[in-house]
Symmetry: C2
Subunit: 326 residues, 2 copies
């Protein structure tokens, strides 16, 4: 069985997306849609969807509409999340609500939903309902995850399990759902679909934790990303929650103090928080949790009932998502 490379499928996806003719009336509505889709990203989710289809010998072209639907949905969530998080930049470029305005960003996102569902119309009748079911469930859960994330901003008592459940919903289910949809289109068994989904969930958790880790310990010069932005924004990520769990006395008091409000001197704040993180080996704790989810993901991948060689591309993508510097 010939398996396509990640880059081949990624390029095929980018080509398909470029070929899509998106409406243009009114331009105030459709220009922002073209803009957010054009500023790119690595197209991780649609590419993994195509890979999952490919893995079982399915025709990835048959899965292309679903991949386009997933990318459209993902970008819709970015447009609305950026309003809610008041984020000025996305992938180094102005966010939609900053470049245009909040109302346009709301409506742009709203329109991307039926556009996503329009792609689903091109899915083979025999698979349409199964795909639609996974797509709907995923979309709801992503919204639930974002709501938990918003809740946590003002909550005093977020626990580590609650945080992990939040990132499962906000980030992982879309990766798991994408893989599962690819598998449905290839026509694989229920058992394989579940393993594929759990592979995605666990790799998604590892991916998000790595994101949190890189925010504090990553390369300072990554384009468009403010270093230690999570600390500045008082985001209670796993790093903070673990530190707060381990810290006692004055360290705990200082952590709480620093994450309680905005500070005039962010550099001082970052330095102080990192010092506490270092004291409690938060880097190592986080890396170890990442490894835990990564290993779990790989176990699910290995247990999928298909030629082991065929899994090489998915193995390498999973590794890339977790062992990255930025």
């Amino acid at each position: 069985m010939k398996i396509h490379s990640v880059s081949y499928l990624q390029e095929a996806f980018n080509k398909a997306l470029e070929d899509e003719k998106i409406d243009n009336k009114p331009p105030e509505l459709y220009d922002p849609i073209k803009y957010i889709l054009s500023i790119g990203g690595k197209r991780i989710r649609p590419t993994m969807l195509l890979m999952a289809c490919d893995l079982f010998g399915g025709d990835f072209r048959e899965a292309m509409p679903a991949a386009l639907a997933i990318e459209m949905f993902h970008n819709f969530t970015l447009v609305h999340d950026d309003i809610m998080d008041q984020a000025p930049l996305r992938r180094g470029k102005e966010t939609v609500y900053k470049k245009w305005n909040t109302n346009i960003a709301i409506l742009t996102g709203d329109t991307m939903m039926p556009l996503a569902y329009d792609f689903i119309l091109y899915i083979n009748d025999s698979k349409l309902k199964d795909v639609l079911k996974v797509f709907n469930q995923t979309a709801k859960e992503v919204c639930e995850g974002q709501q938990f994330d918003l809740n946590f901003e003002t909550s005093e008592n977020v626990t580590i399990p609650q945080y992990l459940e939040m990132i499962r919903l906000k980030t992982s289910v879309l990766i798991g759902g994408s893989l599962k949809i690819g598998g449905i289109i290839a026509g694989t068994s229920e058992g394989n679909l579940n393993k594929l989904y759990l592979f995605g969930i666990n790799i998604g958790l590892a991916f998000q934790l790595k994101d949190d880790l890189l925010d504090v310990y990553g390369n300072e010069d990554v384009f468009g990303k403010q270093n230690s932005g999570d600390i500045v924004a008082n985001k209670k990520t796993y790093l903070y929650l673990k530190a707060f769990e381990l810290a006692r006395g004055n360290d705990r008091k200082m952590l709480k103090h620093y994450f309680d409000k905005e500070f005039a001197d962010n550099l001082e704040k970052i330095k102080a928080v990192r010092k506490i993180y270092d004291k409690f080996k938060i880097y190592q704790h986080t890396e170890s949790l990442i490894s835990f989810y990564y290993e779990k993901a790989m176990k699910y991948l290995e247990s999928i009932d298909v030629d082991q060689d065929a899994k090489q591309e998915l193995r390498s993508v999973a590794k890339g998502l977790v062992h990255r510097d930025q």
Copy 2:
């Protein structure tokens, strides 16, 4: 053929909606959804969907999921429109963004989209794709209509045809789409579906123009509705556009002046604008356009190839939408 009465189908719909179990985790997300659905409205769109199915001898229970999808979608647009229009009240109650906050209102609306599409999963396989196609198209067009409406707020040169096209998209297509979906589920011909749709489009235009008219000339005491709110908010409805078309010299200058900014004394403004409207018989002009669309709608209804007696309920709903006092 036994046709169900409007009130029977309306009640059946309300019962079905009440029986729906909506998730509750996180409550910050789902409570507002239950709230907006509970504050009611006349359920015009879903009821008309059921009536269209009934008209052709279809089983209205088979159309119920589609009716629920339409009502869910409609309420999603209300939640987001109220943010964009900064409306404090909806059906006499606090709007979602006022009662909770903007972020919750954005996410609430977002979640209602996959919830709407979840209902569509219950549609018979043989009709699913046709229904999905109409639903997607309608959803996109409603968003386009809202964008045109937003554009008009800051535009100096809105024409009457542009205004009519805006309300066609923002209001009429959802009525036309609802009717068409009911017809699809009943399995009627393409010809009848088109006539049904155009009946809905024209009755929707008449309905919205009546809404604009009642805003200025309606009962002062209607609960939850501010009288002449469109004049206060400088909304360039058909009434304004027609007056501006007919007025000359000082009248035209004054109209422009009054619709140019906010005024301290709204009562004075309303009185002055109404005086100009009366001078140019705007009430009569609007009533005549309403009649034009109403007659056109009725012609499409009469031309539908089905037992004439069976149309009585739809005739009476159409009449009620256009010949109302509030």
